[in-house]
Amino acid sequence: MAVAEPPIVEIVGLAKSYRRGDQVVPVLQDINLSMTRGEFVALMGPSGSGKSTLLNLIAGIDTPDRGRLAIEGVDITGLSEGELARWRAEHVGFIFQFYNLMPVLSAFENVELPLLLTRLDRRRRREHVQLVLELVGLADRADHYPSQLSGGQQQRVAIARALVSDPTIIVADEPTGDLDRQSAREILDLMESLNERLAKTIIMVTHDHLAAERAHVVRHLDKGVLTDRIERPRARATG
């Protein structure tokens, strides 16, 4: 057996609560979770269970009250707002339920956005963008605007945007929540292949069982507590 890889996501005793008037509403209580490189984890749970909050914390767009949250060994809970922004640009790829593309920018320009925060020159940026657009099968739609694309195509552009800076982790919040069954299946196929062929670490929040089935590990959240853990054998397992 190979020596166990160090976890890429390591969460210990993470807690988060919201203040609503005078009341403190706990959202996450004592979360412990670890993910290895190349793992594909689905977070499921009823509305208000805190799964989106957990995803936001891992993505570095929200901050916990206490606990340790380390990505590749770096505890991001101690980073300042500016450091966190730079960290996100380098390490996190986002996929949203409603794609969140800039309507006034073309597919190419949307995908290029994260690269504007890097030191890459124009020519290198172009190469990167074209590469990921080919990867998601939209190389011929580079000049199209989001309004000229179908929902499934828009989500592909968003996936290309999430991939372009080669992030450490990809976080996906209900990536199929706004898509018809066929488009949803295509998006899940794409995500699965990214995970299998490019060894991308993906953490996905979903309500959809079909989506969750694609993950290696399904974790359930209920009232801010992680409950069971269901594993599914890896498709590319060498046996």
């Binding site: 767009i61 996100r88 339920q97 969140n100 504007l116």
Partner: protein, 389 residues
């Protein structure tokens, strides 16, 4: 590190064309008023400054301020005109002109409204001293006759002042035998005739002023001191350029103050308009702001993006306002100069200073209107912003 791409900012303005056009249009109107008043002041200044020739010197009675208020008696005028520092003509006579300047009331063409007109009595030397003046119609008046020539503005604007017409002043009929162009100077708003004829008609025993050309290499400051210190003279001495420029001060500063007050009041409306537009832009794009922040753009990138958007918006307004105002250059205003109480014609004049000030004013409105919305955009919480899809 680059910020939010300009294409994003620019296209967002382009996408909401109507809102952009209306907001920029409001600003354009304010910039138009602002630029128009500045152009009026600049035109007045330009006209009066161009009236003077740098080497010409004006001598008037001490503390008279204008030629109308001045009297220089024959003896003093002769003393001044005999100075050796005065340049001489080819025939050896001094280039000095003793002149009479009187205000007369003439009816305007069309409306018949009476208005003050400057009439100047001068000699052929006096005409020679004004290089910028040339006859465009008819001929120059002959000395010793009751002929006059009219400045082009007067010929156009006043009844009886056109070529071949005649006017009655001081109980005497004067025939207009020529019209002169004065190259945009204040002389275009004057009537010129023979000095001696004028003095007789107006029963003057003294001149109003003495104008002379400095001989090359003359120390003007010294000459000025000599003349002003001379016990026999009660005169003050001015360079002609400075003399006329000073006549524009009161009115042009009044225009500037009036313009500033009007523009300030109007600009409040335009600033509020820009603010509403930009607040709406922020509200409509909250999810986009959240997305940009999630991707790693910082608060300051967002702040700058929205400020640039507001500044671009105001630049469009500013340019449109200036474009509109530039059409005013084809329009000439005729009004009374309060310093001389005489009718003066001048054109709106656009120069680099007017353009810069108007654009700066437009950008200020954009900045003032865009600042609070930009701050709001920059202060949005990422998670809340993303939830607003």
């Amino acid at each position: 590190m680059t910020g939010v791409p300009l294409a994003y900012i620019f296209r967002n303005l382009w996408v909401r064309k109507l809102t952009t056009a209306l907001t920029a249009g409001g600003m354009a109107l304010v910039v138009f008023v602002f630029a128009a008043v500045l152009m009026l002041a600049a035109g007045l200044e330009k006209t009066l400054v161009e009236t003077g020739v740098d080497d010409n010197v004006v001598v008037i009675r001490r503390s008279a301020e204008t030629e109308i208020q001045s009297t220089v008696d024959r003896e003093q005028a002769s003393l001044v005109a005999a100075r050796p520092e005065i340049a001489t003509a080819r025939d050896g006579s001094p280039l000095a002109s003793k002149e009479t300047v009187v205000l007369v009331v003439l009816p305007k063409r069309g409306s018949e409204n009476p208005s003050n007109v400057t009439i100047r009595g001068l000699s052929s030397t006096g005409i020679a001293l004004r290089d910028q003046v040339r006859i465009v119609e008819g001929r120059m008046f002959r000395p010793g006759t009751s002929e006059v020539v009219a400045g082009s503005r007067i010929a156009e604007g006043f009844k009886g002042a056109g070529l071949g017409e005649s006017i009655t002043i001081a109980g005497k009929t004067w025939t207009v035998v020529g019209v002169f162009d004065a190259g945009g100077s204040g002389f275009a708003s004057e009537l010129w005739g023979d000095t001696d004829q004028m003095m007789q008609a107006f029963r003057r025993t003294a001149f109003s002023s003495v104008i002379f050309r400095l001989a090359p290499g003359t120390d003007y400051a010294r000459l000025r001191k000599v003349l002003e210190d001379d016990q026999r003279l009660t005169v003050e001495v001015h360079r002609e350029t400075a003399f006329y420029a000073k006549q524009s001060e009161l009115m042009s500063s009044f225009l500037s103050v009036l313009g500033s007050i009007l523009s300030t009041i109007f600009s409040i409306g335009a600033i509020i308009g820009a603010m509403i537009t930009m607040y709406a832009a922020v509200a409509n794009r909250t999810a986009e702001i959240g997305t940009l922040r999630a991707l790693g753009f910082r608060r300051v990138n967002i702040l700058v993006a929205f400020l640039v958007e507001a500044l671009l918006l105001s630049l469009v307004g500013g340019l449109a306002g200036l474009g509109l105002a530039s059409l005013l250059q084809f329009y000439t205003v005729s009004t009374m100069n309060w310093q001389t109480f005489a009718e003066l014609s001048f054109a709106f004049s656009m120069n680099a200073r007017v353009v810069m000030q108007s654009l700066a004013f437009a950008l200020f409105m954009g900045l003032a209107g865009g600042f609070l919305p930009a701050v709001r955009a920059a202060r949005l919480d990422i998670v809340d912003a993303l939830r607003s899809v």
